[in-house]
Subunit: 119 residues, 2 copies
Amino acid sequence: MIEPVDLLQKFSLFSEAWHPKIAGELNDSYVKLARLKGEFVWHHHENEDELFLVVKGTLTIKLRGRDLTIREGQFVIIPKGVEHLPVAEEEVLVLLLEPKSTLNTGNVQNERTVEADWI
Amino acid sequence: MIEPVDLLQKFSLFSEAWHPKIAGELNDSYVKLARLKGEFVWHHHENEDELFLVVKGTLTIKLRGRDLTIREGQFVIIPKGVEHLPVAEEEVLVLLLEPKSTLNTGNVQNERTVEADWI
């Protein structure tokens, strides 16, 4: 079914941080929605560029050597191979776009690694 | 350079309707920004799914047999092969995500066909 997806309506259906949900698929990528709160883990994605679009809040993405601040209505693309650490002092709602093969923790597999489910 | 992109700031840099601008690239896709006003042309994309995220305004996408209404904060994915006609009664600002190979008019080439430039 081809139907519009309302971002805030989808976000209202879950509350856990760092558990991206799949909200759409196109070509070989997923559109995911995630709530971020606190600090994630340093990681990179070997083969996948990743887009973060901030829907609500202010996201910090630490790179080795500098910090990016991504505000509501802004996006950033982290190219493959670039180490990054997302940090959300206050809760942030983000739309992610990434190839279906992308693992949330990239090259790292630990207790923060999760499979995304459809929402 | 890895830098945040502010959607509304980018939209402020151009005013023409139906001339998508490239605001980012990831994997084999472009993130494009477009102002839509009025009616486009019926077309489909042979090999590419296409995402429309409405940043401002209300977009109608006519399909053969029914109309979709996509409001601010909503997205829709039009799968490859599906004929569609975007219509914007009032001006609409959209973020598009589509493979780099995508032509704006899909299978149709006419005076509405344009190459996207970076912004």
